[in-house]
């Protein structure tokens, strides 16, 4: 069981449903979904025409640094925005301004950055399409014309770890770090590694951020052809569920050891108790029917947190809206909780599936919901899908059973992650 306490002192997010936790909670409460027609490209005639895009995208305003835009991409802009907001809320800048030089250096060396990243997009490589077109399949001329045609910053703009590097540079954080590119569990894994580093005394503070922007034509087409996308909406656990809907954005938290937070008088929003991670070993796309690895991930998260299933106040399910993921997730939940399930809900009907960023965004929103003592409802629910009955879901908002939430993520490769959070009273 984890002994050293890891507290949350800042949070930030951006997604189709809003740009701060309160706004997203408000959208969830009023039944608003950001899922709508895709604007990124003309989808007339496309099988995939909906997503939860971030509207009114202005990269300069979001990052506050136009010059930086030469070196980063849309997904990085989201990651930096969320991380900036979390660090702002944690009040690092004013605390550091008062430190002497030696203490400021110690602060920097003991502050880590842990990132969950989508790992890239197909569009990253489109910078080469004009060159390939001009070279007409002739590699010799491709090589010769390279420097004159392709943006010299191509590789740097495409680094999967750009947010890690730039958050560090922007905020002067120089401690332990990681950039997890493990599909949809990336965010929760980054959170787990950050919390573990704090518990092992490898750092005293850590920024955790996960970001993704996968709403692009080639990606959407592949997901559609893999049978993973819905044309009508994201109806997790509902009889109408027939696939997922993509979202984009980022979620971020600032974590500190309890001692470090107290030392600087930071207000505490909550606590990360423990997490678990397990795999099904079936390959990239198959999902095991009985939800075995998810059940094991939840069990180890509970054990690491030193609690039992009865302590959980609400469950934020992965609920991606694909029939086999929903059904196996339901089985895993029943296996762990038996018939006495705490309120279970999901958020993806509102802001879509953010892939690598999904878990962190949902952790940030879950924390805000827990603090408001709300289990947001799922207005997309009608009749429960086969195997998804008796999950203690609701269309209406409810009150959590306790101040603890369990957040779940599942990704390609049969990966499953679970995390337990505690909310501090507001």
């Amino acid at each position: 069981m984890n002994t050293r306490r890891v507290v949350i002192t800042g949070s930030g997010l951006i997604c189709g449903a809003g740009r701060n936790p309160a706004a997203v909670l408000e959208a969830l409460g009023s039944g608003q979904s950001a899922i709508g027609p895709i604007e990124a490209w003309d989808t007339s005639g496309w099988p995939v025409r909906i997503a939860a895009e971030v509207r009114d995208y202005n990269a300069g305003a979001l990052t506050g640094d136009r010059k930086l835009l030469k070196y980063i991409r849309r997904t990085d802009v989201f990651g930096l925005y969320a991380a900036d907001r979390a660090i702002e809320e944690a009040g690092f800048a004013s605390y550091r301004a008062a430190l002497d030089e030696a203490a400021a250096a110690t602060f920097a060396d003991s502050a880590g950055v842990f990132v969950g990243s989508g790992g890239g997009s197909f569009a990253n490589q489109y910078d080469f399409l004009p060159l390939i077109a001009a070279a007409g399949g002739n590699l010799e001329s491709f090589g010769r014309e390279l420097s004159a045609t392709v943006n010299p910053m191509w590789l740097l703009r495409s680094l999967p770890n750009n947010v890690l590097g730039h958050v560090g540079i922007r905020h002067g954080l120089k401690g332990p770090n990681a950039c997890v590119t493990h599909h949809s569990v990336s965010g929760l894994l980054a959170l787990a590694e950050a919390a573990a580093a704090l518990r092992a005394d490898e750092c005293t503070r850590a920024v955790v951020v996960a970001h993704d922007a996968s709403i692009e034509a080639q990606m959407a087409l592949y997901y559609h052809r893999a049978g993973l996308m819905s044309a009508q909406g994201l109806f997790a656990f509902d009889a109408r569920h027939d696939g997922s809907v993509m979202g984009e954005g980022a979620g971020a938290l600032v974590l500190e050891t309890e001692t470090a937070a107290r030392e600087r008088g930071a207000s505490v929003l909550g606590e990360v108790l423990g997490s678990g991670n397990a795999g099904d070993a079936l390959g990239l796309l198959p999902v095991r029917e009985d939800g075995d690895a998810l059940a094991r991930a939840i069990a180890s998260a509970l054990t690491n947190s030193g609690i039992g299933p009865g302590n959980i106040g609400m469950v934020i399910a992965h609920g991606n809206g694909t029939p086999n993921s929903d059904a196996s997730e339901a089985r895993a939940l029943r296996q762990v909780f038996g018939t006495d399930l705490p309120p279970v809900t999901g958020f993806k009907w509102s802001f879509g599936h953010l892939l690598a960023a999904a878990g962190m965004l949902e952790v940030v929103v879950a924390l805000a919901a827990l603090r408001a003592r709300i289990v947001p409802g799922m207005p997309t629910l009608g009749t429960a899908a086969p195997h998804c009955e008796g999950l203690n879901l609701s269309r209406e908002a409810r009150v959590p059973r306790s101040d603890l939430a369990l957040v779940l993520s599942r990704g390609f490769g049969g990966t499953n992650a679970a995390c337990v959070l505690r909310a501090a009273a507001p």
């Binding site: 069981m1 007339s44 920097a108 880590g112 990243s117 790992g119 890239g120 197909f122 569009a123 990253n124 490589q125 489109y126 399409l129 390939i132 077109a133 001009a134 590699l139 001329s141 491709f142 090589g143 390279l146 420097s147 392709v150 010299p152 590789l155 740097l156 495409s158 680094l159 770890n161 750009n162 590097g165 560090g168 540079i169 954080l173 120089k174 401690g175 770090n177 990681a178 950039c179 997890v180 590119t181 493990h182 894994l189 590694e193 092992a200 034509a217 080639q218 087409l221 592949y222 893999a226 991670n277 397990a278 795999g279 099904d280 390959g283 990239l284 690598a356 390609f412 490769g413 990966t415």
Partner: protein, 443 residues
């Protein structure tokens, strides 16, 4: 948490590198300083400003098929995944242990992976089918017959496709992760694996890295940044870390894997232990995305942290496998870090960069070089820093030059420093030293 901290044994190694497709041949090439660099063979690089690289050569298709077990899975694998599966199978065979139905959930898998992307041929199909003028026309993707319609292209290019294959083929059902911090990826993957076993989330971990950027797009990225050596006429001496005339790195490819086990369990089953994976240091330079700080700030903290984590003093370190890319800036900055950490003691620390022979394996580099450290402890021999003619005066350290050096290594360090500013330093301890230290601590 139990009272005695859990320690980690390295019990299996696997390598696919530009100088050998297994551990023995790679080690021999490192000792003989037999360079893996040559004119690029896998595609027509004649128009590129840089036409040399260190490619993996002659990987036996039968070995690849054996590693995958099922033929159909081969279609899910790109070039780097093939390297990974072969190296991982070698490591497991070497360790003499595999996940079983009873142990699968206690096995983890942590890998350093390269950047996501499709191959040049597949990208050319996207261009042919949907971007005839060089600009993607999304509407045309719908009817495109080639790569955009091929679900296997999607599978191979997914960021965690390699980890998914490894878990499936070897039946690993516990904690898994893919990490990418550019050239530090492999080192950070091994460091993450160490912590998983320490904190009890796994008893055994298959840890490693794999990458292949020797293709028109990958090579282009480094050419555009002027990061690779342009010595097209002398490929075998193009990578010369710490030499005064160095002018860039040589792009390599390959995979390195380690089997890590909780120490007492490894001892109990009578496993051969190459070394203890004793410590991990991990820092962020937060200076510039591609430049390293001239003072060595960043790597300094990583090295100190790795030694502290391993409970090793400066005088215990006998060997450093340097990041040593052979770019003017990296080697100067890394040497500044070595000087800052070791002071005058640096003259008793033997240093070599095996990138002088293998080239730079990018996301695989840290894992491959971790295996090299384990081998140098095991054999009591330090591999050569090849091609060193005139030591850069800024690199005033004890470089293992000309011939390998016999030396009993008590503790070795391995540096991996990445674009984006991530720095990884791993510490390895001789198994006898590890046992002695454990006895001393227990008494």
């Amino acid at each position: 948490m139990s009272a005695a901290p859990r320690r980690v044994a390295i019990t299996g190694l696997g390598l696919v590198t530009p100088v050998g497709n297994d551990v023995a041949s790679t080690w021999q090439a490192l000792l003989a300083a037999r360079s893996g660099a040559a004119l690029i063979n896998s595609f027509d690089a004649s128009g590129f400003p840089v036409r040399i690289a260190a490619e993996v050569k002659g990987l036996d298709p039968a070995a690849v098929e054996r590693a995958f077990g099922e033929r159909k899975l081969l279609k899910m694998a790109n070039r780097a995944h093939r390297f990974a599966l072969v190296a991982a199978a070698q490591a497991l065979d070497d360790a003499g242990i595999r996940p079983t139905a009873a142990t699968a959930t206690r096995w983890g898998c942590v890998v350093g992976t390269g950047m996501m992307g499709v191959s040049y041929d597949e990208l050319s199909e996207v261009q042919r089918d949907a971007a005839s003028a060089g600009e993607l026309e999304p509407a045309r993707l719908l009817e495109a017959p080639g790569a955009p319609a091929d679900p296997l292209v999607f599978c191979r290019s997914t960021a965690n496709a390699g980890a998914a294959l490894l878990m499936r083929v070897f039946g690993i059902r516990g904690y898994s992760s893919s990490v990418h911090t550019a050239c530090a990826s492999g080192g950070q993957a091994v460091g993450t694996a160490l912590k998983l076993i320490r904190r009890g989330e796994a008893d055994c971990v298959l840890a490693g890295g794999f990458d292949s950027m020797i293709n028109p797009v990958g090579l282009s990225g480094f050419c555009l940044l002027n990061a690779v050596s342009p010595d097209n006429d002398s490929p075998t001496t193009a990578s010369r870390p710490f030499d005064a005339s160095r002018n860039g790195f040589v792009l390599g490819e390959g995979a390195g894997f380690l089997v890590l086990e909780e120490w007492s369990a490894a001892r109990q089953r009578g496993a051969h232990i190459y070394a203890e994976l004793a410590g991990d240091g991990n820092s962020l330079s937060s200076y510039r995305i591609t430049d390293s700080h001239p003072s060595g700030d960043g790597p300094i903290q990583a090295m100190r942290q790795a030694m502290r984590d391993a409970g090793a003093a400066l005088g215990d370190i006998d060997y450093l496998n340097a990041h040593g890319t052979s770019t003017p800036m990296n080697d100067r900055s890394e040497c500044a870090a070595i000087k800052a950490v070791f002071g005058e003691g640096r003259h008793r620390l033997a240093v070599s960069s095996t990138k002088s022979v293998m080239g730079h394996l990018i996301a695989a580099a840290g894992a491959v070089e971790a295996a090299v450290c384990a081998l140098s402890i095991h054999h009591g021999v330090l591999p050569v820093n090849a091609n060193l003619r005139e030591l850069d005066p800024d690199c005033d350290i004890d470089v293992v030059r000309d011939v390998p050096r016999k030396r009993r290594v008590r503790v070795a360090l391995s540096n991996s420093l990445g674009f984006g500013g991530s720095n990884s330093c791993l510490a390895f301890r001789h198994p006898d030293e590890a046992e002695a230290l454990a006895r001393w601590r227990a008494s």
